[in-house]
Amino acid sequence: MYKGYRLLEHTADMGIEARAESCLKVLEEMARGLTMMLFGNSPASANVVAEIHLREEDPVELMVTWLNEILYWCEQNNLVPVETRIDGLEEGELLATLSGEPFDQQRHHVERQVKAVTYHKAALEEASGGWYARVYVDL
């Protein structure tokens, strides 16, 4: 089983899928995939830190909310994430630390705009002794 994320083909938009040993790790991989989709390999340091606390009853909805929260931080606070760390995940509650630096045209480039992470074909499930996740985004 591969571990990590990969970007998925879609006619007009794009997707992200990831595999990891745990639910927490697969959600972190999805966040890395989203960051790559937004900023490519732009370098960043961790001089801005945001604490994130989310709650959703349904695990798939929690995943989509998590990824949309990252998008919000990138768009509204001009953050280029360097680390998206989940500190706690239980009973529909997700605690995370998002760290990065403010967008700087000299240092960073924008790969593409992502309007939102959608629920279309969204999946979060145990598979092959690990966890599998998938979302499609609206570009």
């Binding site: 794009m14 909805e61 924008v110 790969e111 705009q113 939102a116």
Partner: protein
Amino acid sequence: MATKIQQLDQYRWRIPREGAMRTDGLVFASPEMMKDLRREQALEQVCNVATLPGIVGPSMAMPDIHWGYGFPIGGVAAFDATHGIVSPGGVGYDINCGVRLLRSKLNAEEVHPHLDRLANALYRNIPSGVGSHHSDFKLSMAEQKRVLTKGAAWAVAQGFGDKNELDYIENHGTIAGADTEKVSERALERGRSQLGTLGSGNHFLEIQQVEAIYDEGAAAVLGLSQGQVTVSIHTGSRGLGYQVCDDYLKVMLKAARKYGITLPDRQLCCAPLQSDEARDYMAAMACAANFAFANRQTITSNVRETFEEVLGKGPADLHMATIYDVCHNIAKWEQHTIGGRERKLCVHRKGATRAFPPGHKEIPAAYQSIGQPVLVPGDMGRYSYVLTGTAGAYEETFGSSCHGAGRALSRHAAKKAARGRDIIGDLAKQGIVVRAAGRATVAEEMPEAYKDVAEVVQVVEQAGLGRIVARLKPMAVVKG
């Protein structure tokens, strides 16, 4: 999923009702387009929409249909006011994404020597790109709420355009029923500094010239003539709309469970139109739609000022007037005659344009003889089209038509095809000036990434869903 498809005539394809579908699917496409469609998931999405409660008539797709999220792009579905639903996924994140077309008194020859300067100035004056914001329009909370309730009328009252211009915008630039109390703080925050901005992705601002006229009479009514310069603006409700959609998808996921609605795809989550959840969404959606109308109106004003500044001409010399402004992501209350009976329906258009016929009371008095203008952008290398609505569209598709070319290549495939090529340089050789904010955008939006919009509008016309009036050729393109 193998979808059963029956060819009805050259451009109509029926997907017979089966399983959980409550109605048939109806797709407008040429046989060549259908070959491509069978390879992707858009037809399955037509079937999924057909399962939603209270759908009236078939689940339809226009000829620019392609795989979307939830609804297919190009999808049209109407729902009964009493038994039907509204689905935020059937409108999309970019609520009231749409197109506005401006005409001018200028001709291509006189503008050509100034194209570089015009493109630079438009790129500078109208913020574009990811998270683009406008320092001139950082609105107070009270002012922003007025934008959300009044739409383009707010912009005109602030001096961004003329009051008469409102007659040439779908719904006069204001969707009724907007309630700012139904919009989240986060959505308001995301929209606060984004008024007057283009955004990114497939949004654009384009200087064009009228390259061909197909219907002299209609073109004359629209004030279009060969060689004339026009400007197209394609943008929507920006972060505010995305957040409204996201907020209400959460509401509707819970509502679907509460009302026992089985969903083939979570993105189709919805609530009965008679529920509080649906009323709240319609009120919030109207706010986002009004923000989009105000956005295109303020950009229009900025375009006029930029042309005046660069060309050193006054408003009377330029005479840049709005031909029309259409929504292509929206759910609207409309009256339609079904089986001889007048019914109130909630018509969802996801990547589809309203195309009302001649004589309809909701189109401008000046266009009563020709029907509503339908603005169909193509790609940045080839052309766009102006069509008009028909009685055929009104009877068959709830007065709907196509909204664009539809993508032919995925983003990844487009980038791969663009590798090693200078897309901006290639377009410059064709006389098209491009200014773009994003490195990847130009590759992903290259002309070959899109289907030939000429084929799409041909199907529209042959199927009786619109009449082709004019073809517009790009001269300069500003991309986000």
